[in-house]
């Protein structure tokens, strides 16, 4: 699905790897490694300074950027909801493409396990976990094929984080999504991911099955990271 060929940008250096459809990939590594920067390359919030990125064998630079971003949805660490109601947020993306259908609203809230009565609620009245669920629903409203997640639970308490994780797992299964998630939490990585990309100082140090990587790290960097 995605192919990175010698991609460099900011701290990232000559990254080459591919991601298959429906893979659940965890990007992890120490702070400042360039994980979020890498994530933002997938939907062209950044463009590589050298190298190329392909989506289904077409260079992503050749996509109409809005179409690409519709296909490759992003959920950030902070929900960053827009002022207004839950509905205002959910229909934001589809309205841009003229595809909003009022009947979708309730379905989307059910996907993220929020009561449908929340639809007209002001987002300021929601808890942190509820806000993140609305943020998820807002991204799903565009019917993406790929879900990019930038530490979506790191600002939440343990219990809420677990609930969001569960919600994410269901969503990814139900919608056959490809998931690429940045996390610094190794337990979360092993729970949600199948494959891991371990990044240090902008370089891809290890790439493999996440459970094997965590049990038998091949590099000293990963061994040290697990110990820490």
């Amino acid at each position: 699905m995605f192919q990175f060929k010698d991609v460099s940008y900011g701290p990232l250096k000559d990254l080459t790897f591919s991601i298959n459809k429906k893979e659940k990939v965890m990007l992890f590594g120490p702070s400042g490694a360039g994980k979020s920067t890498l994530l933002f390359l997938f939907n062209r919030l950044h463009s590589p300074s050298s190298g190329s990125i392909y989506l289904d064998e077409k260079e992503i630079a050749d996509f109409e950027v809005t179409d690409l971003r519709k296909r490759v949805g992003l959920v950030l660490q902070d929900p960053n909801l827009f002022p207004g109601t839950v509905l205002d947020n959910i229909k934001y993306g589809p309205s841009i493409f003229g595809e909003w259908d009022e009947r979708e609203a309730e379905k989307l809230l059910q996907y993220v396990q929020l009561p449908t009565s929340y639809i007209d609620r002001d987002v300021e009245q929601l808890s942190g976990g509820e806000k993140q669920r609305v943020s998820l629903a807002r991204t799903l409203a565009n019917s993406p094929e790929v879900l990019l997640l930038d530490e979506p639970t790191s600002a939440l308490d343990y219990r809420t984080a677990e609930e969001i994780e569960e919600c994410l797992e269901n969503l990814i299964e139900e919608h056959n999504l490809t998931m690429i998630m940045v996390t610094h939490n190794l337990q979360q990585a092993s729970r949600l991911g199948e494959r891991g990309l371990f990044i240090v100082d902008g370089q891809l140090v290890e790439d493999g099955r996440i459970l094997e990587m965590l049990e038998k790290p091949k590099s000293n960097e990963l061994a040290r990271f697990i110990e820490e």
Binding site: F40, N43, R44, L45, H46, S47, V65, T66, D67, R69, K70, G73, L74, L76, D78, N80, L81, F82, P83, Y92, G93, I96, F97, S135, R138, T139, N142
Partner: protein, 261 residues
């Protein structure tokens, strides 16, 4: 009788400078140098402009007015651009904006016979329009930069959902314009109740009938109100797009904004 303040009386104004100076000293605000410098600078500027105006008022209107308005617009542009100096072409946008606003307002005044085309009427009134527009543009630029910084995540979210920069920035533009316009709306609401506006006070002190002074004040207040609104709107709508590049990506650092192609 024209009011007159003697030079000796003016010297006593030093007391008014001494008060904030003492406050700064006692509370260690570190503002003493600034207070002294701004007082001296303000006094020199005012006297200089007084002599310049006397000279300009004696010139033919067709020379004195364009000359002074050009000077005012140029100085205002240099000053307002400091608030957004990392934004490409900001100088030219401000210059053109101020020029268009001043020409429009002046045309309205002359067309509807509100003001006579004499330096003594056009120059002070234009000064107020240009000065207020300059402040509005500067504030709008500053506010917009802060809003872009504070709403970085929201902008990224909006772009990621497929929004073009214009749609993604809608909230920022709204907030910036709100912040620029609300003080003016409030000021207009309380005009004459909380404080007598400067121009009206000046005219009354100069011996003009209060009702006549009010008419002039209305002309200038509403002219300022519309030019401030236009200035803020123009500069915000002209500049927001420089926070994005041609690939609809958000530029997050001053360096990226300055060096965008």
């Amino acid at each position: 009788m024209e009011p007159e303040i003697s030079n000796q009386s003016l010297l006593f104004l030093i007391v008014f400078v001494f008060i904030p100076l003492s406050l700064s000293y006692f509370y260690q605000l570190g503002l003493s140098k600034n207070i002294l410098w701004s007082s001296v600078r303000g006094t020199i500027q005012l006297f200089a402009i007084g002599y310049l105006l006397t000279y300009l008022f004696d010139l033919r209107a067709s020379i004195g007015i364009p000359l002074m308005i050009s000077i005012m617009i140029t100085v205002a542009t240099f000053h307002a651009r400091l608030k957004g100096k990392e934004l490409p072409h900001v100088f030219w946008y401000i210059l053109v904006g101020l020029l268009v606003i001043e020409i429009s307002v002046l045309s309205m005044w002359l067309l509807f016979d509100m003001v006579e085309f004499t330096p003594s009427e056009v120059i002070p009134m234009s000064g107020m329009v240009i000065g207020n527009s300059m402040v509005a543009m500067g504030l709008a630029l500053e506010r917009m930069k802060n809003e872009f910084k504070e709403n970085n995540g929201r902008l990224l979210a909006a772009l990621s959902l497929g929004a073009k920069p214009k749609t993604a920035s809608k909230l920022i533009v709204q907030k910036t314009l709100n912040a620029a316009l609300i003080p003016n709306v409030d000021q207009l609401k309380t005009i004459g109740l909380v404080q007598l506006p400067g121009m009206m006070t000046g005219l009354i002190l100069g011996g003009v009938e209060p009702v006549m002074a009010i008419k002039y004040q209305l002309v200038i207040s509403l002219s300022i109100f519309s030019s401030v609104s236009l200035s803020a709107m123009f500069i915000t709508l002209a500049m927001y797009r420089y926070f994005f590049n041609a690939q609809d990506q958000l530029l997050e650092t001053e360096e990226e904004i300055r060096t965008q192609s």
